[in-house]
């Protein structure tokens, strides 16, 4: 018995074991399927990034009452490709004062984690069954790999992506990139704490850190967004947007203050790689959000023939909704101020997600013990509200005292 199935046997809930494709003996056909999945994942990511950049520009243009890209291809759909090819032919400049080795390493650190996250996302598979599809006579999951601690892997990679941004700015040996990168690292690690705590609530309902198992516990519309009471989902969305450095949290590359932020000194293809990584992260973050909270590819399978297409379709629709949302946010909201950003992360999102985590845990334990759930929830919510009121009262009082002190010392009338 392998380690995974032993672990699965320990739990009281049915936890599915690893990808059936990789169980037992490995022959050439299985290696072929793995290679096929890897190639498909790469192609899918690159094509969807290309379309995403076009979609964002087109949609923002529409919301601004502009035309947007319209020349390259029908509806300008090949604009991204044209831009990419152009950047291949641009001269690559490395500043004199830069740390050359780190300067060249940084795009790798940014882009490779962006690729890797997509590997753990289940993009299809019939989850009313065991979530597998049959390809060439072999049962397999529609994800490149299903490590037993998949979500932890995602969190680890988003931490590594911080290095990409931080080292890019630092190694440029220039002021604006350095400022952009220290901002970026402080922002990304602050929101990563909130992100991790929001995800912890999902583990309470799924009982597993594997992305496949998390989707498998959300079948038949029993999505985590409701099972965890919406709040962790909202925290995840806000923290995820901040983690992506997307508007309204794009202080990392606030053009009016920092020129281009951490990639000011980058040109040519290296700049394109940062851009690619940024949009790839938007897509993978949407895919992770769908996996954790919206049931991944689960949805009704309406036809028997070509039944495996439906889950992929549902997954795409859900991811697309997120992508639309990200673009909409960009077109709508003005940028946060840095102190507001930090306040939101540390003083709102982290206490809120900690409290909510305990509330959901208490609710589930009460449910398992056979206690009435409603009083537990009411008491928990009352406690959280009381805490929030006390806290905001204390903050307001401290603020009033501080302002009074200021008035006294500066001699301004209150």
């Amino acid at each position: 018995m392998s380690a995974v199935t032993t672990l699965a046997g320990m739990g009281d809930r049915a936890v599915l074991a690893a990808d059936p494709l990789l169980r037992g003996d490995i022959d050439l056909g299985i290696v072929g399927i793995v290679v096929l999945k890897v190639v498909v994942a790469f192609a899918l990511l690159l094509v969807s990034v290309m379309l995403m950049i076009w979609f964002e520009r087109k949609l923002v243009a529409d919301m601004h009452n502009r035309i947007g890209p319209a020349v390259a291809g029908p509806f300008g759909i090949l604009q991204t490709l044209a831009d990419g090819i152009k950047l291949f032919f641009k001269e690559d400049l490395i500043p004199d004062r830069s740390d050359r080795a780190v300067f060249k390493l940084a795009p790798y650190l940014s882009l490779v984690p962006a690729f890797l996250v997509f590997a753990i996302v289940p993009i299809g598979g019939d989850f009313s069954g065991d979530g597998t599809v049959t390809w060439f006579g072999e049962r397999t999951y529609l994800q490149v790999a299903d490590p037993p601690v998949g979500v932890l892997f995602f969190l680890a990679l988003s931490s590594i992506a911080v290095y990409g941004v931080m080292l890019a700015g630092w190694s440029s040996g220039s002021k604006y990139p350095l400022l952009g990168s220290v901002r970026a690292s402080a922002q990304m690690i602050s929101y990563e704490a909130a992100l991790g705590l929001a995800i912890a609530t999902v583990f309470l309902t799924s009982g597993s850190l594997s992305t496949h198992d998390i989707v498998a516990t959300q079948v038949e519309g029993n999505w985590n967004v409701l099972a965890t009471g919406v709040v962790p989902f909202l925290v995840f969305l806000v923290a995820g947007t901040a983690e992506l450095n997307r508007p309204p949290f794009d202080l990392v590359e606030a053009e009016q203050e920092l020129v281009g932020g951490f990639h000011t000194e980058y040109s040519s293809l290296r700049f394109a790689l940062f851009f690619l990584a940024e949009f790839m992260n938007v897509i993978t973050m949407s895919a992770i959000a769908v996996t954790l909270f919206l049931g991944g590819p689960s949805g009704p399978i309406l036809t028997d023939t070509l039944g495996w297409v439906w889950p992929i379709l549902w997954f795409s629709v859900k991811v697309f909704a997120f992508l639309f949302g990200f673009v909409w946010l960009r077109a709508t909201l003005p940028r946060f101020r840095y102190d507001q950003l930090m306040d939101l992360g540390w003083k709102v999102l982290i206490p809120l997600s900690l409290g909510w985590f305990l509330l959901i845990a208490a609710m589930r334990v009460a449910d398992a013990e056979g206690w009435p759930v409603a009083p537990v929830v009411v008491v928990g919510l009352a406690g959280m509200t009381l805490g929030a009121v006390l806290l905001s009262g204390a903050v307001a009082k401290a603020r009033a005292e501080r302002l009074a002190d200021l008035d006294a010392t500066e001699g301004v009338d209150a």
């Binding site: 490995i26 490779v112 589930r364 334990v365």
Partner: protein
């Protein structure tokens, strides 16, 4: 190799291919692009004027405080995640223990708050 490690092996191969792909992009670019370097091109960008002062500036201590707090919460996650997956096994005992743990942690956060470390001036 055990079944347990096979999915990680696939991920390692996937990551290796990603590195190769990025290298291939950069290699192709270096074949295609011109290289007519002049000293002016290698000067740092500072909105068009000549760069002033030392580029390797020191950054503010505030950033490190946040980094330290992040480590605190990340280590906390290491304890919370395994417990969260086995919630029903540890039952009421586990819940009370976790409540105490999170309470102490929240105290730390509020202490930093009270000491005005979270204020960004």
């Amino acid at each position: 190799m055990s079944d347990f490690l096979r999915s990680w092996l696939v991920l390692v191969v996937f990551g290796g291919l990603a590195v190769l792909l990025v290298s291939a992009f950069l290699g192709l670019g270096s074949l295609l692009r011109p290289s007519r370097d002049t000293p002016q091109k290698s000067i740092n960008y500072e909105s068009g004027v000549d760069p002033q002062g030392d580029m390797w500036a020191q950054s503010n201590i505030r950033y490190y405080v946040f980094a330290l707090m992040f480590v605190l919460f990340d280590v906390e996650a290491v304890f919370i995640f395994p417990w969260a997956t086995r919630l029903e096994v540890y039952d009421v005992f586990g819940l009370v223990e976790m409540a105490i743990f999170i309470f102490i942690l929240a105290l730390g956060l509020f202490y930093a708050w009270r000491k005005r470390l979270l204020r960004w001036v």
